[in-house]
Symmetry: C2
Subunit: 347 residues, 2 copies
C-alpha cells in the first residue's frame, strides 16, 4: 500500500520512495512563520503545532512519508534534565557523575511525553501518508548529556568514556530504558516506522562503538520488533563502523552523503538503504541537483532504497529545488534504470 513502508520492510520496488530528513524545518516559509511566534520547546510540546508542522512538507511537496516534528532531546527533558536551545541544545548542568545519573528519572511508556502521543494520534487522523517516529540512540543522547553543548569533536565526552567507563555504562543503560519507553509510546500512538538517530556514533573507533554504542542501540531496536514497525538506524561519518552496523536489528540503514550507496549495499547485506544525496546539492542549480540525484538513484539500485538526503536539509535550501527533487525521484523508474545499468555492465 505504501512505497515507503514496503521499502523500509526490505521490498525492492520499481520506485524509490522519498522523504527528507528535517523536512519539517527552517527552509519552509510556513515553518518559519510558526517559529516566529513560538519558542522551540513550545513547538515540540504542543500537539496542534506538532501536527501542523509535521504535515506542512507533505501538503506542499507530497513526500512518501511524514516524520514527527520533535527533537531528539525531548525524552531527556522528561528525565528531568533542563535543556535550552541557543539554537543548538545546551544542557545547564551536564550529567557526568554517578549521583547525577542516579537522579535521572526513567518515565515509562504510559507516562512519557503525552504531548507527543497526542501529536502522533492527530497526524494519523489527518493523513494517509505513513508517519515515522524517532528517537536519539543512547550513545548520541549521552554525548549531549555529558558534553553539555554542541562541539566539533565532543572530546570532553570521549575523554569521559575513557575516564569513567563504569558511569558511562550506567548512563547508557538508563538512556536505553527511556528510549525504549519513548519509542513504544510513539508506536502505541500509531507511528508506522521508527528511525533511531545515532548521529554521533561515527566519532568512535570500532572498539569504543562496540563497547558503548552498538549494544545499547541494538537493545533499543530489538525491544521494538520485529514485525511491529520497520526500524531505520542512522549514523553520520560511520563508514568505518559498517561491519558492526550491519549486525543491528534494523531493517534499514540511513547512509550519509560520503558513502556511495553501491558501496553501502555491499557492506550491509540484507538491509534496505536510505539516503544519501549531499544536502548541499540542494543549493546547486537545478540541473546539477538532478544530475546528483540521478547518481544516487542509480547507486541505490540492486536492493530496497528509500531516497533521502545524507543528512538533514539546511535552512538555506531553496524550496523550488526541494519540489524538483521530490518530483524527479518519484518519477524515476528503477526497473528501466536497472535494466540499462545491467546492459551497460555486460557490454
Amino acid at each position: 500500500m505504501s512505497a515507503f513502508i514496503d521499502a523500509a520492510r526490505g521490498q525492492d520496488a520499481a520506485r524509490a520512495p522519498i522523504w527528507i530528513m528535517r523536512q519539517a524545518g527552517r527552509y519552509l516559509p510556513e515553518y518559519r512563520e510558526i517559529k516566529e511566534r513560538y519558542g522551540f520547546w513550545e513547538m515540540c510540546r504542543t500537539p496542534d503545532l506538532i501536527t501542523e508542522i509535521t504535515l506542512q512538507p507533505i501538503r506542499r511537496f507530497g513526500m512518501d512519508a511524514a516524520i514527527l516534528f520533535s527533537d531528539i532531546m525531548t525524552p531527556l527533558a522528561e528525565c528531568g534534565v533542563r535543556i535550552d536551545f541557543a539554537p543548538g541544545p545546551v544542557i545547564a548542568e551536564p550529567v557526568r557523575t554517578r549521583e547525577q545519573i542516579a537522579r535521572l528519572r526513567t518515565p515509562g511508556s504510559d507516562e512519557i511525553a503525552p504531548y507527543v502521543v497526542k501529536g502522533v494520534r492527530a497526524v494519523r487522523e489527518q493523513t494517509e501518508v505513513p508517519l515515522i517516529g524517532f528517537a536519539g540512540a543512547p550513545l548520541t543522547l549521552a554525548t549531549y548529556l555529558v558534553e553539555g553543548q554542541g562541539s566539533k569533536d565532543y572530546s570532553l565526552f570521549r575523554n569521559w568514556l575513557y575516564e569513567q567507563p563504569g558511569a558511562a555504562h550506567e548512563l547508557l543503560g538508563k538512556l536505553t530504558e527511556v528510549t525504549i519507553a519513548y519509542l513504544r509510546a510513539q508506536i502505541g500512538a500509531g507511528v508506522q516506522a521508527v528511525q533511531l538517530f545515532d548521529s554521533w556514533a561515527g566519532l568512535h573507533d570500532a572498539a569504543s562503538y562496540e563497547t558503548f554504542g552498538r549494544p545499547y542501540a541494538d537493545r533499543v531496536l530489538r525491544a521494538l520488533g520485529p514485525g511491529d514497525v520497520p526500524r531505520i538506524y542512522l549514523a553520520i561519518g560511520a563508514h568505518h563502523l559498517y561491519p558492526q552496523i550491519g549486525t543491528l536489528a534494523a531493517e534499514a540503514i540511513s547512509v550519509d552523503w560520503r558513502t556511495p550507496l553501491s558501496h553501502a549495499r555491499r557492506m550491509l547485506p540484507g538491509k534496505a538503504l536510505q539516503g544519501n544525496l549531499d544536502p548541499s546539492a540542494l543549493c546547486a542549480p537545478p540541473e546539477v541537483l538532478l544530475e546528483r540525484a540521478g547518481e544516487v538513484l542509480r547507486q541505490g539500485l540492486g536492493g530496497p532504497h528509500i531516497f533521502n538526503l545524507g543528512h538533514g536539509i539546511g535552512p538555506s535550501a531553496p524550496v523550488g529545488n526541494v519540489q524538483r527533487l521530490v518530483e524527479f525521484v518519484q518519477g524515476f523508474d528503477r526497473t528501466a534504470a536497472f535494466d540499462l545499468t545491467a546492459e551497460g555492465a555486460t557490454r
Copy 2:
C-alpha cells in the same frame, strides 16, 4: 641519523619514532604560563616565543620530532584577512565573493611571515631534533575563510561550493599559491619535514574532494619535492577518500583514530603511516593507555610507522600519561613484535 626522518622518507625501522600533534599546547603547564601573559597572535608572531614553545615538549619528553609552534591561520593573516581567536578562529569578514577573493594578497616566499622564518632558524640552532613545518591545505583554509568560524559540518561552505564553483576554484588557486610560498619559506629557513593539514577534507564526498580538494593539495605537495623534505598529509574522518589520498605526492599519510593502521596500510600502498592513537586514550588509566598504544604499534607493523595520535592532544591530557606514552613507544621493539606477530599468524 633520525628515526623520524627515516620513517617519514619511507624506511621501515626497528623503532617507531613518536611526536604528538599539538604537543606544544595547553596540556603543558609551561605553555599555559606563556599563554597567560601573551595573546595568541602575539605568541605566533614573536620568534622567541615560537622557539620557546616549540622546544618545551622536546625538553620535557624527548619526542623524536619538534613541530613548529604556529597556527594554520598564519598565512591567511598575511593575505590581509583579519582573524581573531575566540578561542577558535573567527573571521570578521568571511571571503565569499569574487571581489573579496581578488583583493586577497599573495605574498611570495621571500616576504611571507618573516617571524616564522626567524622562529624556524632559532629552533634549528637550539636543537638537533628534526623540526616539522606545516600549513593548512587549500580546501581546509577555504573552509574557514568562507564559513567564517568553527562549525559542526561547515554546511555554509559546502553549500557555497555548489552555488559558486567558479569562485571556489579562484579562491583555491590563490590559497595554493600562498601555501606553496609559505611552506617554501619554512623549508628555506630549515624545517626538515612538512605536514599539510587538510583537517576538513573528510566532510566531502569523493566527487567533491576530487574537484575541490585533492588537485590543490597535490599541487602544493608537488611544488615542495621530491627530494627536498618528506611530506606528510593529514585529513580527519577521510576513510572514504583513501583511494584518492593514496595518489597524493606525499611520502607519509597521517591516519585518524578511527581507521586501523593495518587497514590504512592496505589502502595506502607505498606510504609511510603516521598515527593513530585515540587522543582520548590519554585520559585513561595508564594500563589502558599503554594497552591501546601497544595495539596501535602492532597494527603499524609491516611498513614505515611514525607513532602519533589520531588527532591533536587535548588540554586535559595528563602530563604523566604523555611521559609514559613517549617512553613506551620509544622502548617498543618492532622487529621482535613483527616476528611474534608473524609466528602467531603461521600457527
